[in-house]
Amino acid sequence: MQPMADRITRDDVAHVAWLARLQLTEDELDRFTGQLGAVLDHAADVEALDVGDVPPTAHPLPLENVLRADTPRPGLDRDVVLGMAPSAEDGRFRVPPVLGEAP
């Protein structure tokens, strides 16, 4: 059922879930450990190939340098923007107290 689950442990999944601020149940942890293991198995298949002369694919679209001119356009009306927020004060978004400095 979990052929190569050792590629990723249940603890790894719990850690990744915490980084993404996802609260998973015990059942979900088991299930996702299996599923992510299968994804990594697939990646291992690709890794087994010799791709020495294949340039890395940065993006599935064969495009680069998609740019726009540096010309300003008015944005959204502040009252509309703040009206969408659960709480606002003094022209700014009001958020719960933050613990610690920005990373």
Binding site: L19, A58, H59, R68, V81, R92, P97
Partner: protein
């Protein structure tokens, strides 16, 4: 500093963030403007609203390239990553940045004294919003809530990462000052530390000279060159004290507090963030073609280091000797005055000592050259020339008119000789003493001449005349 005095070497690596002088943000068309009313420059992209997509600003790429070129970097094909973290200053819950493939790599910056600091990379990323903590006296941990302004979210930044080549607080300050001068010269940023458009983080460690690098601490919240220098000196000494006590330096991020002059623990390595970087799927690679790179390079103005070298060559000084004049932007004035016939050394001296005031760079070079000529010809003393110069900057009037209006008439040599002879006659004791070899006695005689001529005599000419008279006087019996 004490760190070297006690046999320790300070090692500093600097990370500088500068806001680019674009008209719009990095990934949307909102105005990039400092000081606007909160949340008036926002749109679905920089607010991270569902369904919005980023589109890269061409001008930001151009300015990033310009910075790379000015720092002698290689411009490379690059991609963007998402740096994921949860903090209300970024409404998307990630910052778009360049990670393992930045646009500029492997350059250097040359300081006025000729030493080079390696530049590891200079990459593009977006700035974050501004949070204000309310309650608890503005202290984060005691705040009851926070207010967020997203005007700054998405403003283009270039982060310039230097190699750990800096060895003192003074050199760190010199590096940031030079980098700021370059950024301003090439029009990439207004680079104002006090407005936050230039922000500096310092990685500080200490070691015994010749040994491997020690454990480093990153110091944040450095809002001025003064803070930068003080923080590095404090942090190096803190680490030296630990090591000399036999304790270890713990790798951590520390916060500089300007009011108590100390650094404080912000977070340790164990608490370091795992940003889960992954390629930004909404943006394609940016790989400036060689042709575009050449166009940008062709528009690069002379850099401060080139300007120092040129001015030093023209005036017979050294790059370090002309650094202040170039920093004030007066090199163009001096060069134009020299081209108009001014004595290079005198012109440089005035630019360095007498032209620190506002508007000095708008002085007419021909008029400046004329003033220098009047001084060299002995029509004005050094003190008078300085006074005329101040008036020239203020009024724009020609130096001849100002000198005449101020009564700085050229002293004829006959009048000067008469004044010197009167001084000798009026103070025979000083004269005898001077003739007896007491050089100090000369001061009293010069002083009399100056008083009699109301300061219009040229001190050097008076001295020369006194020496002439002494040589001609009969020697002591």
């Amino acid at each position: 500093m004490s760190a070297t005095a006690t046999g320790w070497e300070t090692v500093v690596g600097l990370e500088v963030h500068c806001e680019l002088a674009t008209a719009t943000k990095l990934f949307c068309a909102c105005p990039n403007a400092f000081g606007a009313e909160p949340n008036t420059n926002v749109c679905p992209v920089c607010l991270g609203l569902p369904g919005s997509l980023p589109v890269l600003n061409e001008r930001a790429v151009e300015l990033a390239m310009r910075i790379g070129q000015a720092l002698h970097c290689t411009v490379k094909p690059s991609i963007f990553h998402r740096k994921n973290y949860f903090y209300p200053d970024m409404p998307k819950d990630y910052q778009i940045s360049q990670y393992d493939e930045p646009i500029n790599v492997d350059g250097y910056l040359e300081l006025p004294d000729g030493t080079r600091v390696g530049i590891e990379r200079a990459h593009l990323e977006e700035d974050t919003g501004k949070t204000t903590h309310v309650g608890g006296g503005g202290r984060i941990h005691e705040a009851t809530y926070s207010l967020v302004d997203y005007n700054r979210a998405g403003v283009p930044l270039v982060e310039i990462v230097a190699a750990p080549d800096i060895r003192s607080a003074d050199a760190a300050r010199a590096y940031v000052a030079e980098l700021r001068a370059i950024l301003v010269a090439i029009g990439a940023s207004d680079a104002r530390m006090e407005e936050g458009s230039l922000r500096v983080d310092a990685n500080v460690s200490v070691r015994r000279p010749g040994e491997p690098f020690g454990t480093r601490c990153e110091v944040k919240n450095l809002n001025s060159l003064r803070s930068l220098g003080r923080a590095i000196e404090f942090e190096a000494q803190r680490q030296i004290t630990l090591l000399e006590r036999g304790e270890a330096v713990v790798q951590q991020t520390r916060h500089w507090d300007e009011s108590d002059g100390r650094t404080h623990t912000l977070r340790s390595k164990e608490e370091a963030y795992d940003y889960r970087y992954f390629p930004e799927p909404d943006l394609v690679p940016v790989a400036p073609p060689g042709e575009w790179q050449d166009q940008v390079r062709a528009l690069l103005p002379p850099l401060p280091a080139d300007r120092r070298a040129h001015l030093a060559a023209v005036t017979g000084s050294t790059p370090a000797g002309v650094a202040l004049v170039v920093e004030r932007g007066l090199d163009g004035l001096v060069l134009a005055a020299v081209a108009a016939g001014a004595d290079p050394e005198r012109a440089l001296t005035h630019a360095e000592h007498n032209l620190s005031m506002e508007g000095a760079d708008r002085l007419d070079p021909a008029a400046f050259a004329r003033l220098v000529a009047m001084e060299v010809a002995g029509e004005l003393t050094a003190t008078q020339a300085k006074a005329v110069l101040v008036d020239m900057v203020e009024t724009g009037d020609p130096p001849d008119d100002i000198a005449r209006a101020r009564g700085f008439e050229a002293m004829g040599s006959d009048a000067l000789t008469a004044a010197v002879d009167e001084a000798i006659a009026a103070d025979p004791d000083a004269w005898a003493s001077y003739c007896g070899g007491n050089e100090k006695a000369k001061g009293a005689l010069v002083g009399r001449v100056m008083k009699a001529t109301r300061g219009q005599a040229d001190g050097k000419a008076v001295t020369a005349l006194l020496e002439e008279r002494r040589a001609a006087a009969p020697g002591p019996a």
